[in-house]
C-alpha cells in the first residue's frame, strides 16, 4: 500500500511519498511520482485509487494555477486546502467520488509552514505530522515520541 508522510517544523515542512506502483502482487513501477507542485509555495502528495489520483491532483493543480493567472497572486496554503477539500466533498456524494488520500504542505509568510491531512471522506486537519497508508502504523508512533518543532534539517 502506498505510504505518504508529512512533518512540520518551525521553519519548514517536509513531505515524502513512496515511488512504488503495484497491482496486488506485481510491482509495475518503482519510479512513480506522487508529489504534485500546486504553486510556488505549495506541494501535494496523493495516494489511492489509480486514475483518481492523477485526475484529481491535476485538476486541483491547474485550478490553483488558474487562480494565479486570473488574479496575479497565489492562493495561500490554507485557502488551497479548503478548496481541495470542498471539491473532494462535493464529489463524495455524487456519482463520481474520488478515492484518494492526500497531504498538502505549504509555506506562507504570515502563518509560516502549514501541513494539512485529508482523507478520501474529505476530512481536513491541520497537523504537525501525519501519515497515510501502512507506513503510518510504524512512523506515527516514532513521530509521537520524538517530534519537536525546533528540529533543523
Amino acid at each position: 500500500m502506498e505510504c505518504i508522510i508529512g512533518i512540520k517544523f518551525n521553519d519548514f515542512v517536509l513531505i515524502a511519498a513512496d515511488k512504488t506502483n503495484a497491482h496486488s502482487i506485481i510491482v509495475m513501477k518503482t519510479d512513480e511520482n506522487k508529489l504534485y507542485q500546486l504553486s510556488n509555495n505549495i506541494v501535494m502528495a496523493i495516494s489511492g485509487e489509480k486514475g483518481d489520483t492523477t485526475q484529481f491532483a491535476e485538476y486541483i493543480a491547474k485550478n490553483i494555477q488558474l487562480y494565479k493567472m486570473r488574479n496575479g497572486y497565489e492562493l495561500s496554503p490554507t485557502a488551497a486546502a479548503n478548496f481541495t477539500r470542498r471539491n473532494l466533498a462535493e464529489a463524495l456524494r455524487s456519482r463520481n467520488a474520488y478515492h484518494v488520500n492526500l497531504m498538502l504542505a505549504g509555506y506562507e509568510k504570515q502563518e509560516g509552514p502549514q501541513l494539512y491531512f485529508m482523507d478520501y471522506l474529505a476530512s481536513l486537519a491541520n497537523v504537525k505530522y501525519a501519515a497515510h497508508g501502512y507506513g503510518g502504523f510504524f512512523s506515527l508512533s516514532i513521530m509521537d515520541r520524538y517530534h519537536l518543532p525546533n528540529l533543523t534539517r
Binding site: N71, T78, A79, A81, N82, F83, R86
Partner: protein, 211 residues
C-alpha cells in the same frame, strides 16, 4: 438622430456609444452624493441622506451604505431598488468565495465579479443596465485598504479619493486639490469629507442629519 439607437440596450450607435448606459449614468447624477477617501489607517465613506422627511420611519439605519462582508462595505448612488439587487448579489459572491476557499474574498475580485454581472446587462438579455454607481471600500491581505468605484457600464477602477452622485464632478475636483497622498489619517479624511460635502450639497446648511 440619437433616438433611433437608444431604445435597445444591446446595440451600438453609429458614433460607437451605448446610449442606455449613458442615460443610466445621467440618472445617477441626480441621486444623493457619496464620497470615499483613502487614508493611511483606513477608509472613509460618507453619503448624503436625502429623505429627511419627518414622517419617514427609520426602519434601517442607512439607505446608502451596506456591509458586504466582514472586510468590505459599499455605498450606492442611483436607483435604490437596483442597488438592493446588486448589494445582495455581491454578498452572495462574497459568501460563495468564503464557502470555497475558507477565507474572505480579496476586494478587487468581488468588485470584478459584480462588474461582470453589470456588464452582462449591457450586452445580452435585452434588459436595461442597472442605474447604480457603487463605491466599495475594503481591506485584504494582498493590497491593504482599497477604494473602488464602478458604474452601470461595468467598468471599475481603484481610487485614492472619489465621489459619485449629485455634483460629483465638483466634489472630485476639490478632492483633487485637497487630497494629500500618504499623509491623511482618518481624522483628516473626515474633516476633508465634510468640507467637500458642504460645498457640493444642495442645502444651505450642513447638519448632522444630512449625512
Amino acid at each position: 438622430m440619437a433616438r433611433r439607437y437608444d431604445t435597445r440596450t444591446t446595440i451600438f450607435s453609429p458614433e460607437g456609444r451605448l446610449y442606455q448606459v449613458e442615460y443610466a449614468m445621467e440618472a445617477i447624477s441626480h441621486a444623493g452624493t457619496c464620497l470615499g477617501i483613502l487614508a493611511n489607517d483606513g477608509i472613509l465613506l460618507a453619503a448624503e441622506r436625502r429623505n429627511t422627511n419627518k414622517l419617514l420611519d427609520e426602519v434601517f439605519s442607512s439607505e446608502k451604505i451596506y456591509k458586504l462582508n466582514d472586510d468590505m462595505v459599499c455605498s450606492v448612488a442611483g436607483i435604490t431598488s437596483d442597488a438592493n439587487v446588486l448589494t445582495n448579489e455581491s454578498r452572495l459572491i462574497g459568501q460563495r468565495y468564503l464557502f470555497q476557499y475558507g477565507e474572505s474574498i480579496p476586494c478587487e475580485q468581488l468588485v470584478s465579479w459584480l462588474c461582470d454581472v453589470k456588464q452582462a446587462y449591457t450586452q445580452y438579455g435585452g434588459k436595461r443596465p442597472f442605474g447604480v454607481s457603487i463605491l466599495y471600500m475594503g481591506w485584504d491581505k494582498h493590497y491593504g485598504y482599497q477604494l473602488y468605484q464602478s458604474d452601470p457600464s461595468g467598468n471599475y477602477s481603484g481610487w485614492k479619493a472619489t465621489c459619485i452622485g449629485n455634483n460629483s464632478s465638483a466634489a472630485v475636483s476639490s478632492l483633487k486639490q485637497e487630497y494629500k497622498e500618504n499623509e491623511m489619517t482618518l481624522k483628516d479624511a473626515k474633516s476633508l469629507a465634510i468640507k467637500v460635502l458642504s460645498k457640493t450639497l444642495d442645502m444651505t446648511k450642513l447638519t448632522s442629519e444630512k449625512i
